[in-house]
Symmetry: C2
Subunit: 374 residues, 2 copies
């Protein structure tokens, strides 16, 4: 994997670049739709591609439980299994064993947890996470980290930083000793922790830089802390992270958060918002947010979104899509999911263009004025 | 609407033709996917069209309850509301008020029933059914009929025949006095009843022929009677129905039933089997039926169906689609529904070609040998 910086904004820290992987190029800033179980909910790979998606994220914890990483290995990896031929990033399972699994028991060796599906017991270690991610075969693989909730005390946050750094070392050792199963590279991203404590964030970056070849992630944010603290930590992180490597802000977020943190120098994002909100009837359009379940759309025969890059925007009326939601027809969530992914992809494209032509600062101010509260 | 007979098979009663409607042509024999609520489940109209669908069916009872025929009228009719621009046929609601609604109370005037959704009371008359179908605006609209269950006694069946015929008269009167709301024609199809009693079937045909302009339907079958009785009644009906009008066998059915009754001279069909079975993981392929939920497909990385006209047939493996079903991902039912609709459409196309080149009799024997038990 290679990252080439293309443009740096003069007024902010925003920048554009290209990540080159063995499965294709990713223009940055980039947003990754979440394909938890080897599919971005409702979409075929071709449809996602048509909407402008360059890279998707797969979840190690979920794929380990179902269908199991061994089946995916037998299929020739996640690209082959899911038919998504473009770049893939997999998380490490760290976040999920803390947030989803029950009764997790953490030690320096790893995390013992019970599956959220059937209560069965499992033990994840840095080595185990790497082994699963070797099987899945994503282009970018993530460190196994400890991610405590937002606003834990400093002592707890410090322990998590130390453990995460120690685990990163174990991950790198495992990867050195166990090459990929497939004929493409897998690039390892360490994950910065440190909660809302500036000195811990700096320490985390300092210690993890040596494990990073081409990219680092800002983790442990958007997990319950104040929005202002989140933004402060992103700002501090991007100031200390290597310029020449892409910075990936995990699990973020809303359109305004993307725009704001891109201004701080973030290059990559993933979030379930476009697809999850779509399934709830919550649609992003250039004119603002629509909740299509609202009774006001019962007789509204205007088109869903004339400005959308999804063909569904001009194929269906609001009244029709409201009806589809009302009667639980799958086409409804397909339409709203497509409109939301198209909105996010168009937003990233616009941002890249605005950075390239030197208008990002001005544009982002007007965007944030409109989207700050949404 | 106009029906042109093209080819008549020499060895059987099978025939090909073209139904010309104001929304396009339908080559016959034709199969209509069921779009109960203004959508063929999981599909966009463009996708249905791409799979070879020429006409779809909408359900009057369901659309009357949700979203309401007045909303669809305000949208400019069902074509406009649903964005399906091709021909549409709507049933009359007769079948559903008997099979779905609760506590229905039938009289010569009509049927009082309670909605299966919320128990609210409604009263359907021939005039009401025509009024709703005028609002929906389908190209072909169906008579409001009484459809008793299979194998009722002759007395009950006779009463239903008499009532259905009387109601057909009321329908035709209403249609004469109330022209369409839109600038296309709506063709009325009477529905033959008579259960499994040959003389009642003959009587029904005789009395209903005068109400038919361009097409008649064989109703009251596939409702619980023996398969052999069903086939006997279809055979008797097509022998007595006008040669120059299309014959529509309602609610049928399995591939073998289509092939068998096309050999008796049936031209049109509708059935939920391809979409409903698809949602249950039950897939029709040229090599037979697959139940994709079966554990045997866990590690089967062969393609879903190389011979399918749906692009999904060569995009995904059986193991992947089984996984999608296992984790309740919508893409799973989309794939299986598409494969089943493609199978049915290809089957009808093959049948038309076989009739045209005089090979239908031979071909159908070999088809039935393979598909008789499925």
């Amino acid at each position: 994997m290679q990252f080439t910086l293309l443009h740096s904004d003069k007024e902010t820290s925003a920048r554009t670049g290209i990540i080159q992987t063995d499965h294709g190029k990713i223009p940055t800033p980039a947003f990754m739709p979440v394909g938890t179980l080897g599919v971005v909910k409702t979409f075929s790979p071709q449809e996602l591609k048509n909407l402008g998606t360059d890279i998707i994220l797969g979840n190690t914890y979920h794929l380990y439980l179902r269908p199991g990483d061994k089946i995916i290995k037998d299929a020739g990896g996640l690209h082959s299994f899911s038919s998504w031929k473009g770049p893939i990033l997999t998380d490490s399972g760290g976040f999920q064993v803390f947030s989803l699994a029950r009764l997790n028991k953490i030690s320096d060796g790893g995390v013992e947890f019970q599956s959220h599906l059937d209560g069965s017991s499992h033990f994840f270690t840095p080595e185990k996470s790497m082994s699963i991610q070797r099987n899945l075969g994503a282009d970018i693989i993530m460190a196994f980290d400890e991610c405590p909730p937002g606003n834990v005390d400093k002592e707890t946050a410090m322990k998590a930083v130390k453990r995460t750094n120690k685990w990163a070392e174990s991950c790198v050792k495992y990867l050195k000793e166990n090459p990929p199963h497939y004929d493409w590279n897998q690039t390892f991203f360490p994950i910065i922790q440190g909660n809302v404590y500036p000195e811990l964030r700096k320490q985390s970056i300092q210690e993890l830089c040596s494990f990073s070849r081409c990219g680092m992630a800002i983790g442990g944010l958007a997990v319950g802390e104040e929005k202002s603290a989140m933004l402060e930590m992103v700002h501090l992180s991007t100031e200390h992270l290597p310029m020449e490597q892409p910075r990936y802000l995990m699990g973020v977020g809303k359109p305004a958060d993307l725009v704001r943190t891109i201004g701080m120098g973030v290059d990559m994002f993933d979030c379930v918002i476009p697809t999850r909100n779509g399934r709830n009837g919550h649609i992003f359009t250039e004119d603002g947010i629509i909740n299509i379940k609202n009774g006001m759309y019962k007789n509204d025969f205007s088109l869903m979104d004339k400005k959308s890059d999804s063909p569904f925007g001009v194929q269906f009326s609001k009244a029709y899509v409201r009806h589809l939601f009302n009667v639980n027809e799958i086409l409804g969530v397909r339409i709203t999911s497509a409109l939301n992914i198209a909105f996010y992809m168009k937003l990233m494209k616009t941002i890249r263009l605005k950075i390239e032509c030197g208008e990002f600062c001005k544009w982002s101010k007007s965007f944030l004025k409109k989207w700050d509260d949404e």
